[in-house]
Symmetry: C3
């Protein structure tokens, strides 16, 4: 099969291709995660957090992937995703290196990204990448699978398209927040902001098909609505959703408010400036109409859409999300290398 054929397959048809020895290998799109996998990774994450509380546990984790080495290839700006992956590698005792600025790499001399990635695979045991081009990580996973020495690829964000590990940390945060309140099933979730170009909201929405009776509220300016392909996906999977353009009237109805910033880095000529985005800001007075057990999430970085004074409210969980990201990625890497059993046995 060639790449042109492969890339047009459905997510479910591609899924097997991202597995190896019965476990997850390449992590490229949210659609490849099913409910058993999501529950497994949530449980493993919690287990790792417990182990890491002691010095002895920290040293146990450090020994798990000694001698394995990871390459972080991030050609789009990133702080959180990049550093949380670095931290995850460090927690498991992996060594790592990074290429972030293409101007200091051989792409300056005309090397194709494909040759760069194949070079990384010659030296490292894992490639974690962020790239502006949609489906780039998927294509690299496909190409590496054709070589005599493939290594796993984790997509750390591909253009406006996918950010599957962000979706995992979001799921884990909701899972933990509602652990004593029925879990994710039946929850009402508002995704707010630039849904057209925000890959975190897209990746999270994909995962909702794995939960029972979830209802999504897409709250965005009319110009920044969720794309049709994703809405079709939800319709097909029977996930209920509604589209709204007034944030205030949705706040009292939901269990989760998932805020996002405007993604103006994808603007062609400053068109975002014409959109009255203040209507999609979380105003501090909304705290009064928000349900007592609801949570406020944000993938960060934030700008004005989520004022700092909200941080003190106990329903604000976005700083917990940040730290959860590190632990979920640790669990994911552990699963890819098959050391999850050792963690359970500890």
């Amino acid at each position: 099969m060639d790449w042109e054929t492969f890339k047009n397959l459905r997510g479910s048809e591609k899924k097997a291709f991202f597995m190896r020895n019965g476990r997850i290998y390449h992590v490229v799109m949210a659609q490849q995660f099913d409910r058993p996998f999501l529950e497994e990774i949530c449980n493993l994450t919690t287990r790792i957090r417990q182990i890491a509380k002691s010095n002895e546990g920290t040293k146990f984790l450090l020994g798990l992937l000694q001698g394995k080495r990871a390459m972080l290839y991030f050609t789009q700006p990133s702080t959180r995703t990049f550093l949380s992956f670095v931290s995850a590698c460090q927690i498991l005792g992996m060594q790592w290196a990074e290429v972030r600025d293409p101007s200091i790499s051989s792409e300056m001399k005309g090397e194709s990204p494909e040759d760069s990635v194949r070079t990384f695979s010659s030296y490292f045991d894992l490639i974690i990448m962020r790239h502006p081009e949609p489906q780039f990580a998927e294509k690299m996973a496909f190409l590496l699978n054709q070589t005599p020495r493939p290594v796993p690829i984790i997509n750390g964000g591909s253009g406006p398209d996918q950010h599957p590990t962000q979706a995992l940390l979001d799921i884990y945060t909701i899972h933990r927040s509602f652990e004593d309140h029925g879990g994710i099933d039946e929850k009402h979730i508002a995704l707010v902001g630039d849904l057209k170009r925000g890959r975190t909201a897209r990746s999270l929405a994909y995962l909702m098909k794995n939960y029972r009776d979830v209802k999504l509220y897409f709250v965005s300016p009319p110009e920044l609505r969720m794309e049709e392909d994703l809405k079709n996906y939800l319709r097909e999977k029977g996930v209920k959703f509604e589209e709204h353009d007034d944030l205030e009237e949705i706040i009292p109805l939901v269990d989760v408010v998932y805020m996002t910033r405007i993604q103006d880095e994808y603007d062609k000529e400053g068109e975002s400036k014409l959109i009255p985005y203040e209507r999609y800001h979380f105003k501090p007075e909304y705290l009064k109409i928000l349900k007592p057990n609801a949570i406020i999430m944000h993938p960060l970085p934030r700008r004005d859409e989520l004022p700092v004074e909200v941080d003190k409210d106990r329903r604000a969980v976005y700083w917990r999300q940040v730290r959860n990201g590190m632990w979920v990625r640790t669990a994911l890497i552990a699963m890819i290398f098959g050391v999850d059993k050792k963690i359970w046995d500890y």
Copy 2:
């Protein structure tokens, strides 16, 4: 207390705030160091250097902070400070990561430096930072202390303001150089060059209040005099100082000549070019009029103010300063994490 109130407190009032469990925690300003602390860190530094001479000792040190991880957030250019902190972390077996170029981080997407630093604190056990804004490290230490999960902050240089770990390595170098000649007490020290904007001279001058009968000579062009706030501080603490603008006549009088380069990166419009800075160069013939037991220091990088041919003189100790910086920072991190007792017990 809010930041506006805190920031206007006196150094001595802030000091307790930078401690935790009876030991140093945040390292933000030279004024927080007292004489017992300075003697303790000098002795610990010498002890660490001895231990590191053997292979077995090197491995002992490597095990001290295994599993701890440091973030180096340096948004101003640096070679020496940055690499000596990296080395200090490595010597103690810490893992580390860096953010140096804001254009590859989320500040590009509009994230506030406060949110960036809180993010680092979510992943790492220690934050070492250099920032162009005065009091930035201090503000971050203040803010982190308000969060549920603070981590220690070390100021690796904040604008023209403070560079407390440089002051520590300078103190250690003088301490070692005069170990058999009465220590730092009673020494005459010339601080030469751009005293207005050079934070290393400022930070060192602050520390002189801890020593008996030290006399400072501030030798600089009239335009680049030491700032009034620091001179007031010295007056209040009873540290003697004189201001001069002729270097040659001061050379025979002092035990320490501390050279600095012109800090033209803080120029508004090239005003430094008008200053006859050659008068504050150390001319090779000064070696003849310098006392036989005096020392020549420089925080580096140097330009023409200190010619390479001086390097060969045995009184030139600036290359020793460089290496001392690594060992003092190692001692400092060891003290912050409370492993200094293990080092003494070795």
Copy 3:
């Protein structure tokens, strides 16, 4: 001896200067490698690869240079060389740091490269460097040898001049490819492309004096011929060579086709664009006229001179070259630090 005198010595006269305690110390030029050294490093490389196949072997290697630390100072773009050195350090358990962008280092503040390198030598046990200036690594090795605390330097590429570790990995790749066919002696080797400015071809050609009856074909546009100094070197050492400008007619005659890209980064004003470089592309139909046991090499990065469809041919060994680079550099560092005996004893 001063640098001006030293730099004009012949390679053979300099050789002793790059040794210490009877073993290799600084690695700056291909001329310093003799046949016993080349055979030793090839054998050690193969041994390390075998050891690294097992988990236990990987851990043994990780322990060899624990506590040693390397500085990678790369001021020219690089992916492969940089990352393979990083990997080599990691495989041997060394810690490392990098300076790649002079704009974030103290050279911005007017520091001389000599002072920067001396600073690195204060903190690290090994300096690996790539620099645009010819003989820069050699000069730094010379200067460090004058200081009280020298550390070894490895040249990772100096301008259009030398790239000695690339030559080592090329030798290892040819050695392995012809292990059952008489080794490197008597082989016919075509070096193809921009021979004037390509340092990999130069460095490899130098090494041919160590093998019996090798014949070199320099195939290049007339404007990009191999420089006279190298041809004089070969004449003097009795290495046969011919110059050609038609690639197709040489293909059937040789055992090794060593392709290189045009080095237009050294163009003064785009003069490369006038050269019909397509004549020095490896056309897929050449696979039919190439000997069955011949090999196709390329130092990478490649552009159009070596089409991706050639990759599938079993005679294409350039991806193996990439990986060999990591193992040869591992062997080299092991030899510099004298742990090669431990590897043989394992």
